[in-house]
């Protein structure tokens, strides 16, 4: 069943929509959640929350691409969980590691929160990622969107782990400079 047909089922309030979604995107969303949470039970909970959220969102929403639509929901649920978990005990997992790596891209005290809306940061990052060479873009999105490990990225993209690590470091540095130039980072010389 294609995405449009599945979305139509949601709009018709047919519970078959959940079944079809689970069949087509269950594994995909589970991987996304598991990459972040590293826990099967929590991941399953996230995926179930995703179906519920999709059920509540359609209608009114009619996503053109169901995959990314569901993936975003799953990722948001998983990140929310991990942030709560991190608040209790920081460190240890892959998501925490990804969070720490990204810390360097914004200045210590990010004074712009009141002045610049989050969507501007999102827009800037989307433009930045779009400007990267394809391989670098894949590595960045794999690491920071899908929270894949450096090892997995290296295996899937046919690179060495050190190559992935070095590329991510360079990309973070470029992102920091880019955000500075966009006026979204306050400190030029950390």
């Amino acid at each position: 069943m294609n995405d449009r047909e599945i979305v139509n089922l949601y709009w018709q309030r047919s519970e078959q929509a959940i079944t079809e979604t689970e069949q087509k995107y269950g594994r995909y969303c589970h991987i996304i959640a598991y990459n972040i949470l590293e826990n099967t039970e929590d991941s399953e909970e996230c995926v179930n929350d995703t179906w519920m959220s999709a059920w509540n969102a359609m209608p009114d929403k009619r996503p053109k691409r169901l995959g990314p639509f569901l993936a975003r929901i799953t990722r948001n649920f998983a990140l929310t969980k991990i942030v709560r978990r991190t608040a209790k005990k920081r460190g240890g997992g892959e998501a925490e590691l990804a969070l720490e790596e990204l810390d360097e891209c914004l200045a210590d005290r990010y004074d712009l929160e009141k002045e610049i809306e989050d969507r501007e940061l999102s827009r800037a990052i989307d433009a930045f990622v779009g400007s990267l060479p394809e391989e670098e873009q894949l590595v960045f999105v794999s690491r920071y969107w899908f929270v894949a490990t450096e090892r997995e990225i290296a295996e899937k993209l046919g690179m060495s782990r050190s190559g992935v690590s070095a590329m991510l470091k360079r990309t973070r540095s470029k992102l920091k400079t880019y955000l500075m130039m966009e006026g979204l980072c306050t400190n030029r010389n950390e």
Binding site: R27, Y28, I31, I32, R65, G67, P68, F69, A71, R72, L79, V83, A98, L99, E100, E101, L102, D103, C105, L106, D108, R109, Y110, D111, L112, E113, E115, I116, D118, R119, L121, S122, I125, D126, V129, G130, S131, L132, P133, E134, E135, Q137, L138, V141, S142, Y144, W145, F146, A148, I153, K156, L157, M181, E182, G183, L184, T186, N187, R188, N189
Partner: protein, 349 residues
């Protein structure tokens, strides 16, 4: 909220195609049937090559006795003078904005189907040294047109002044831009002209009332220590009037499959006031082969504007000068500067 959490949230909003591409690369989703979409990498390759060429063409920064306008952007041995037809289309602007101890004003704009140019003047009070945003604290003084071995940071400390990093940008979406660059000219320590040059894509909408955004960041050691460095953003409203363009012809490739990895489509050549604009439909057939392509050359024509492949799968190059003859020939160049393919085109419209 941790700043990294904020970053993760922002990264979560990247566009669907980037998510899908990475998920396929990771094997999370089955690969889809290849579409005609040109990969982003391809666009960037051409874009980077063209922007590098643009930067080279712009030449070195030097102090002058007065602030500059758009004509001065072209007063360069590598670029030649701005064509008179284009110079006639320069529009004086009056938008001004003030920041904390500095001000910015849009002086002139130019717009045609392929290019948008904006000249912004920035001036600051005597406590500042105005510097380009593409510089950093350890950049040499030459970036603001001065000689000396000190870095910007050292010079500012010697002079007891604050560095004011300033840049400008355009609304990419409203103007249909696929690439843009800035050039900075200091006229004094407190005065600078910023040229913003945007290249428009094949899906560019008609120009509208838009804004030029100026961002200024004041840096001093004290402010850094106190973590009080905050960018100031000012939006300057501008109205762009698009200059007329004349179609030169529509051409079809003699063999659409000569270039490995692509099916070539219609070539459109247009005369804009700034020169020849090239638009070539390129349908990607094989991503691996396509990766070898760096850029393209239209025989007999040299392009001075930025070039790229826009999201609709068109190669777009602008501001070409020269003569391509009756049957245009395009050479496709790989990363080693070798010719991948040479394709002749024949007029059909």
């Amino acid at each position: 909220m941790y700043k990294s959490e904020r970053m993760m949230k922002a990264i979560g909003d990247i566009s669907d195609d980037k998510i899908e591409k990475a998920s396929r690369a990771l094997g999370y989703q089955k690969a889809r049937r290849q579409t005609s979409r040109i990969p982003i990498r391809m666009g960037r390759l051409l874009s980077i090559a063209a922007v590098l060429a643009l930067i080279l063409a712009l030449g070195a920064v030097a102090y002058a006795a007065n602030l500059f306008g758009l004509r001065e952007l072209y007063a360069n041995p590598n670029r030649g003078d701005m064509p008179e037809d284009a110079a006639d289309l320069i529009v004086s602007q009056s938008a001004e904005a003030e920041g904390e101890g500095w001000s910015a004003s849009v002086q002139e704009t130019y717009c045609d189907e392929g290019t948008v140019l904006v000249a912004v003047h920035v001036s600051a009070d005597a406590s500042y040294i105005v510097v380009p945003t593409d510089a950093d604290l350890d950049s040499p003084l030459s970036v603001i047109g001065l000689s000396g071995k000190e870095t910007l940071r050292e010079y500012a400390q010697e002079e007891g002044k604050t560095l004011l990093f300033v840049g400008a940008n355009l609304d990419w979406e409203a103007l249909g831009l696929h690439s843009a660059g800035e050039r900075f000219e200091n006229a004094s320590l407190q005065e600078m002209t910023i040229y913003v040059e945007g290249a428009r894509g094949s899906s560019a909408a008609a120009p509208v009332d838009t804004v030029c955004t100026v961002v200024a960041v004041a840096w001093s050691p004290e402010a850094q220590d106190a973590n009080t460095i905050v960018p100031e953003r000012r939006e300057l409203p501008i109205t762009l009037v698009e200059g007329k363009s004349t179609p030169l012809g529509l051409y079809a490739p003699a063999d659409p499959h000569t270039l490995p990895g692509f099916e070539l489509g219609e070539l459109s050549l247009t005369q804009t006031p700034l020169g020849i604009e090239l638009r070539l439909k390129m349908k990607m057939l094989d991503e691996e082969s396509a990766r070898h392509l760096l850029t393209l050359r239209l025989e007999g024509v040299e392009f001075h504007g930025a070039g790229s492949i826009d999201p609709n799968g068109y190669a777009v190059f602008s501001q070409g000068q020269g003569d391509f003859g009756d049957s245009p020939v395009i050479r496709f160049i790989d990363w080693d500067k070798n010719t991948l393919a040479e394709v002749a085109f024949e007029k059909f419209g």
